[in-house]
């Protein structure tokens, strides 16, 4: 740790802690529950056609639940992509650039999903 203090601090490091490790597992469990419940309902219960599909996303609570899961997904994707970059992209400037692109990409996806859900 001492090697990383002060001016030697790794600016593209990962907080060196337990937080993201734990968050990755909790977000995974939340998504797994949503995906399995959603897939089971959509495959075996929901009638075919636009009316039923759009009707599914009409209630406010399902919009909120879906958006929360998308938010959780985006955090999960951020931790995962950062991990990939930390393992394979070594120069600090390139890695930082990759981080910035990833954050912008994910932020755009988040905003878009709000628009999609609240237009129904």
């Amino acid at each position: 740790m001492a090697a990383n203090i002060g001016p030697k601090r790794l600016v593209v490091g990962a907080h060196y802690g337990l937080r993201d490790w734990l968050a990755q597992r909790i977000t995974a469990v939340v998504m797994a529950v949503y995906v399995i419940a959603f897939a089971a309902y959509a495959l075996f219960v929901l009638p075919a056609g636009y009316e039923a599909w759009a009707g599914l996303f009409a209630p406010l609570w399902i919009k909120i639940a879906t958006l929360v899961v998308i938010g959780v997904l985006i955090y999960h994707v951020w931790v995962g992509m950062r991990e990939i970059f930390m393992d394979y992209v070594k120069p600090t400037s390139v890695r930082l650039f990759a981080y910035v692109l990833t954050v912008l990409w994910l932020a755009a996806c988040a905003v878009w999903s709000v628009q999609i859900l609240w237009r129904v």
Binding site: A32, A54, V77, I84, W105, L106, C109, L117
Partner: protein
């Protein structure tokens, strides 16, 4: 004439080069691990595409019909099949990771077996998704 230890040709162990990767036989756990990364990265790249499909499915009756025509192309179906595999593989390996973290099946043999079981579960489900996608089921 005597030779010192320093004169002997010592074996060298360098980092694996990309060209050597194909000659390495990875254990099952490593294969599922690297595929977990690959599938995750694929879904990350496909996120806007999936949101676009989701958008089409919800805007109106008209866009819903348009989605059906988009989904009728074989290339789109193939991409979706790839993403189905990515999701199923990522989900099943993810469940395995959480179980390992809870110290379930952490012994060497059990972990190697569960690494294979990941494929036995995710591949048939992918096949089922493929049959549904291509209209066989």
């Amino acid at each position: 004439m005597s030779t010192t230890l320093l004169d002997k040709k010592r074996p060298e162990f360098k980092n694996i080069h990309v060209t050597q990767i194909v000659r390495y036989r990875l254990p099952a756990g490593s294969v599922t691990s690297i595929l977990h990364r690959v599938s995750g990265a694929l879904m990350f790249l496909a996120l806007p595409f999936l949101l676009w499909l989701f958008d089409l499915s919800l805007i109106s009756e008209l866009s819903y019909v348009r989605l059906a025509t988009v989904l009728s192309g074989w290339f789109v179906k193939l991409v979706l099949l790839g993403l189905c595999w990515a999701l199923l593989h990522h989900l099943v390996t993810g469940i395995r990771h959480v179980l390992l973290d809870l110290h379930i099946g952490i012994e060497k043999e059990a972990a190697a077996r569960s690494a294979l079981w990941v494929h036995f579960i995710s591949l048939p489900l992918t096949l089922a998704a493929g049959l549904k996608l291509f209209g066989v089921l």
